[in-house]
Amino acid sequence: MLPILGRTLILLALLTASAGAIVGFATGLKPSPSGWRWTRILAYAFAACMLLASLTMEYALLTHDFSVGYVAHVGSRSVPTWVSIVSLWSSLEGSILFWGLVLGIYIAAATSRNANKYPEYMPYAVGVWLACGAFFSFLLAGPAQPFATVLKPPLDGPGPNALLQNHYLMVIHPPFLYSGYVGMTIPFGLACAALLVGRLGNDFIRPLRNFLLLSWIFLTIAIVLGGWWAYEVLGWGGYWAWDPVENASFLPWLTATAAVHSALLVERKGVLKGWTVILVLATYLLTILGTFMTRSGVFNSVHSFSQSAIGPTILVFLAAALLFSLVLLALRIDRLSPEGRLETGPSRDLFFLIQNLLLVLFTFTVLLGTVFPLVVEAVKGVQMSVGRPYFDKMSVPIGVALLFVMGVGPALPWGRASAQQLRRAWLLPLGTAAVLLAAGLTLGVRNPWTLLALFFGGFTAHVTLSEMFLPVRQRMRAHQEGFFEAFRQAQSRGQRRLGAYVAHFGAILIITAIAVSSTMGISKEVQLKPGESATLGAYELTFAGVEQVVEPHRVSTRAHLDITKNGRSLGALYPSMNQYENQREPVGSPAVHTSLTEDLYLSVHNIDSERDGLLALVNPMVCWIWIATAIIALGGLLALVPSLRGSTAAARIPDSAPAVIQGAKG
C-alpha cells in the first residue's frame, strides 16, 4: 500500500515540477497574470507532493513497514525511535527524498515571499527552481527509488550504518547540510533570472543576497558540525582531514562566502554584478559536483555511507547545468553593466576584491587537489590520492592572508584613503597584534604560521571590535546616551553592519583556534595493562580495567581510565568499542575531556581484559572552533533579519570613513 502511495506522490512531484518549469519559462518570455498564477500553483503543488512523500516514508519507518524498499534496507525493529526517524537521511534513497523535501520548502517559501514582487524576474526564477526539482524527482522516480515494493517483506531489517547510530550529531548535521546545500538553488535561480532578463538592479540583488546568506549560515554550521562529528566519533583525534567528502561541502562554502561579500558591492555601488552572478552560479554547480562526489562512490572516503548507480545521472545533470550557465553567461553577462566605479587605490573596495580573489584561489586549490586523482585515474589508470600536506601547505598561507585582509579592509574607508588616515587607522591595531604575538611567544608557540596568525588575528580583532562599537561611541558622544541605550539604538539602526562584524569576529576566532590546535597539540599511542599508567603532557592516565555496558541495541566494551592533571583528579574517561546489533564490526567511541583551553582526547584502538591500546591526544583550543561557529552564525542571522523585515536602513548607514579615525583616536 505505502510503496504505491509513495511512488504516486513522487510521480506527481515530477509532473508538477516539469509542468511548472515549462509554464514558468513561458511566462517569463511572454508575461501574463494567469501564467504567473499557474507557475506558483505548480510550485506549491511540487512542495506539497515532496512533503507528503517524506511523511509517508517517515510513517513507514516508524511502523517498520518492510514492504517499502528503503525501510527494508535501513530500518530495524531493534533501534530506538529517534534512530528510526533520522533514518530518512541515513542512506542514499532517503537522503535524496529529504533533498526533495528541503527543496520543496525553499521553493514554496521563496515563491510566496516574492509572489507580488519582481514580476519580470520571478517566473524565470521559479522555472529554474522547478527544473532542478524535476531532476531530483526524476532521481526518486528511477535511479534512486525509495518506494520500491518488496514482494516478500523481511521480518526485520539491518538498521542504519553503525557510525550513524553512534552519535547524536548525526541527527542534526544532515538537516543543516541539506538546508545549506539545497538552499543554494534559490540564489542560482535568481541569478539565472537576472541573466535571462538582462538586468541586475539594486532591488533584485536583495532577495538573492538574503537566500544566499540564509543558505550560507546553514552551510557554515553544517560544515563545522561535520567536523565535530568526525572529532567525537571517528576517533583519530582531529576534526578535518581534507577528505573528498569534506571538501565537497567546503568548495561551495568558499564561493558562497565570496558572493555574500561581492553582493554587498552590487548593492552599495552597483559594481561587480557579472562577477557576483558567476560566483552564485559556481556555488550551485559546486553543490552538484559535491553531491556527485559523495553519492557516486568515486572516492575512497569514510563519509561515503551510500554508494550507488546514480553517479552518472548526477554527472549528466551537472554537465547540463554547467552548459546552461555558460551559455547564459556568454549571451547575457555584458548586459549587467556597472552603475558605479570601483576605487583602485588603497580603499575598502580594493580589499573586497582581494578577499574575493583569495577565496576563488582557495576554491581552485581545493578543487585541484580533490579532482586530480580522478583525472589521473581516468587518463593513466594509476590509483592515487593527494596527501593532506598538499592541502595544509596551500591553505595555511591563504587562510592567514584572509585574516590579514579581514582586518585591513574594514580599517580603510570606502573610497580613497589618505596616507595620514592609513597611519592613524593602523597604529592601535598593530599594538594589539604585537601584544597577541608576544603572548603566543611566551606560551611557547614557535611555528611561524601560527605566530603570523596570532599577529594578524590581534590586528583584525582590534579593527573588528572598534568598528563594531563605532556607532555606539558616536551615539554616546552625539546624543549624550548611556552605553546600553546607545548600543540598543545603534544596533537597531545598523544591525546588518553589526552582524557582519560579529561574523568577522567569529571568523578570527576560528582561524586562530585552527592554527593553534593543529600546531600545538601532542599525541601518543600507548598500550596499558590494568593498573599501569601513562603520562601525556600534564596529564596522567591510569588504566583501571575493562567494563561492559549492555544496552538494547548495542554492547559497549569500555576502558576505565582515571585521569589526573598536575596531580589533581579530573575523574574518569571511558573510551569504548561498541558492538551494534546486526553489524559485524565494532565501532570505536572516543572519550573527550573538554575545557576552554584544551581537550584531552582518548580513543581505543584495541581492547581486551588484559590490555588497552590507546591513542591519546591533547588538542588545545578546539572548543573555540565550536564557539566561534556559533558566533559566526549569530552574526549571519543579525545581518539577515533586518533585510527579511524589508528594512533598508542598514545599507544606508552613513559612511564611517572619518569616524574610523575618530574611533582610533578615542
Binding site: 568526525a230 571517528l234 583519530w236 583525534g237 582531529g238 582531514a241 581534507w242 577528505d243 573528498p244 567528502v245 562512490g297 572516492f299 575512497n300 572516503s301 569514510v302 583602485t344 580573489l357 584561489l361 581552485f364 586549490t365 585541484l368 587537489g369 586530480f372 594509476v382 590509483q383 592515487m384 590520492s385 593527494v386 596527501g387 593532506r388 600536506p389 598538499y390 595544509d392 601547505k393 596551500m394 597539540g521 599525541s523 599511542e525 600507548v526 598500550q527 568499542m577 559485524r584 564490526e585 565494532p586 570505536g588 581505543v604 584502538h605 584495541n606 581492547i607 591500546g613 590507546l614 591513542l615 591526544l617
Partner: protein, 166 residues
C-alpha cells in the same frame, strides 16, 4: 576627466593586470609542485615488487591480506611485523603504533608508508578493511580498489602523516 588622469588610470590598470597575472602564475607553479610532492600511490604487493627500486621513497598505500602465521607482536606499542600478500607476491611490513581491534591473520589491510632499501615496507598507519562483503583472496589478485574503498579511516590522516617526508 583630464587626459593625464585617464593615462594614470590606464597605467594603474596595466599594473593591476600584470600583478594579477604574475600572482596567478606563481600560484599555479606552487600548487602543481605541491601536488607533485604529496601524491600517495595505491599499490598491491605484486605491483610493488614489480616496481623494484623505483618504489623506494615514495608514499605508498599497500593493500592486501595479512599472511597466515606471519604476525609477530613485539612489546608495548611498537615492533609489529607481518606479511601482506595478494596470493602471488608478499611484502614484509614493519609497523609502528597500536594495531586496530580487528587486526588478525587473513584480514584485509591497507598500510601507508614507504619502501625501505632493504625491501621491507615501513608503515606508519595500519588500517583494517571494514567491508562485510570483502572476501579473503584465494590465488586471485586482491581487488585493490575495492579494498581501499572498504577500509575505514583511509582518508583520515592522523598526525603521523604530516611527519612523512617523501
Amino acid at each position: 576627466m583630464s587626459a593625464t588622469a585617464t593615462a594614470d588610470l590606464r597605467r594603474t590598470r596595466w599594473f593591476a593586470v600584470c600583478a594579477i597575472a604574475v600572482a596567478v602564475a606563481a600560484f599555479v607553479v606552487i600548487a602543481a609542485s605541491g601536488i607533485g610532492e604529496n601524491l600517495v600511490y595505491y599499490w598491491g604487493p605484486k605491483e610493488l615488487r614489480a616496481a623494484g627500486n623505483k618504489a623506494t621513497g615514495a608514499t605508498i598505500r599497500l593493500g592486501g591480506q595479512v599472511a597466515v602465521g606471519s604476525v609477530k607482536r613485539g612489546d608495548g606499542v611498537s615492533n609489529l611485523e607481518f606479511d601482506v600478500t595478494d596470493g602471488t607476491a608478499t611484502v614484509h611490513v614493519i609497523s609502528r603504533g597500536v594495531p586496530p581491534q580487528l587486526f588478525r591473520d587473513r584480514v584485509g589491510v591497507v598500510v601507508e608508508g614507504t619502501m625501505a632499501k632493504d625491501g621491507n615496507f615501513e608503515s606508519h598507519r595500519l588500517m583494517v578493511s571494514h567491508d562485510n562483503k570483502y572476501r579473503a583472496p584465494g590465488d586471485k589478485n586482491v581487488d585493490i580498489k575495492e579494498l581501499m574503498r572498504s577500509t575505514e579511516g583511509l582518508e583520515e590522516a592522523p598526525a603521523a602523516v604530516a611527519k612523512v617526508v617523501p
